[in-house]
């Protein structure tokens, strides 16, 4: 999948809200946009924690506040309570609202579901670097963000 992603490989957050905020910081949004997106992602999490596999969460939404796909992958060695289960890998993405509808958003969810359900989840949990993580999820990662 030809999508760019950011990575943070040594997250310091100790709870779900802080983790979402830490990941959103990667995009350098202005404060208001960042707060509104944080609010949208937290709302989705409150409705149902997006734990898609043991140790993996996938906070996501579509929003009018972005004009392109925003994807960031985070890893925490100590684990982050989400809020009950401990999470090590977070795949956060925000899809833009396009006139064509949610087709591309659905394709991205489908893409991730396919990878995670076919052994990708275990590989992600064992991934040792951002580039390895991005490559398992078949995203482009330029290596200029996050921590090796």
């Amino acid at each position: 999948m030809d999508r760019q992603c950011f990575c943070i490989w040594n997250m310091s957050s100790k709870n779900r809200e802080d983790a979402i905020a830490e990941l959103l910081k990667e995009f350098s949004f202005q404060k208001t946009t960042e707060n509104l997106l944080q609010n949208a992602l937290e709302t989705r999490e409150l409705a149902e924690p997006t734990v898609v596999h043991e140790g993996i969460a996938m906070p996501h939404c579509r929003s009018i506040l972005v004009d392109d796909f925003m994807i960031v992958v985070g890893k925490s060695t100590k684990g982050i309570p989400w809020p009950e289960k401990k999470i090590s890998i977070i795949v956060l993405f925000i899809s833009p609202v396009k006139p064509s509808g949610p087709v591309e958003h659905m394709e991205l969810i489908k893409h991730l579901a396919k990878i995670l359900s076919s052994g990708g989840a275990e590989k992600m949990l064992a991934a040792k670097s951002p580039s390895e993580g991005a490559s398992i999820l078949k995203f482009n990662y330029d290596g200029n963000s996050g921590d090796e």
């Binding site: 949004f29 409150l46 939404c61 579509r62 659905m106 969810i109 995670l116 359900s117």
Partner: protein, 117 residues
């Protein structure tokens, strides 16, 4: 950003989440991931109701009317144009300071507009 405008943007994002979860294909994929989109959707509806109750009646009525007519009631201004109807906004709209400090609507289509950062 004006608090009321923030609520309208959040309401719009909530409506998108609810409609996404009602989408047959997305619902199927979320279930494949082990999520429960139907439970999430009913929770989101409750949250929507709660948020909507905090929005001024005149704005909420207009929002519902616009959402019903266009599908999207809140749109960003991109390159001085309303991204809903692509109409170039009058100079007075973007010349004023504190552009997101009050609730504004497009003079052509009537959608709520906000300026991107």
């Amino acid at each position: 950003m004006n608090r009321e405008l923030e609520k309208l943007v959040s309401l719009h994002d909530l409506d998108i989440m609810i409609s996404d979860l009602a989408n047959k294909d997305i619902n199927k994929q979320e279930k494949k991931l082990g999520l429960s989109p139907d439970t999430a959707s009913s929770e989101l509806q409750k949250m929507r109701k709660k948020l909507a109750s905090t929005i001024q009646r005149k704005h909420l009525d207009l929002y519902n009317q616009l959402a019903g007519y266009y599908g999207n009631a809140v749109v960003p201004v991109v390159n001085h144009r309303c991204s809903g109807c692509l109409t170039q906004l009058p100079t007075a709209y973007f010349a004023s300071s504190g552009r997101n400090d009050h609730v504004d609507t497009c003079p052509s289509c009537g959608r709520f507009i906000y300026w991107c950062d």
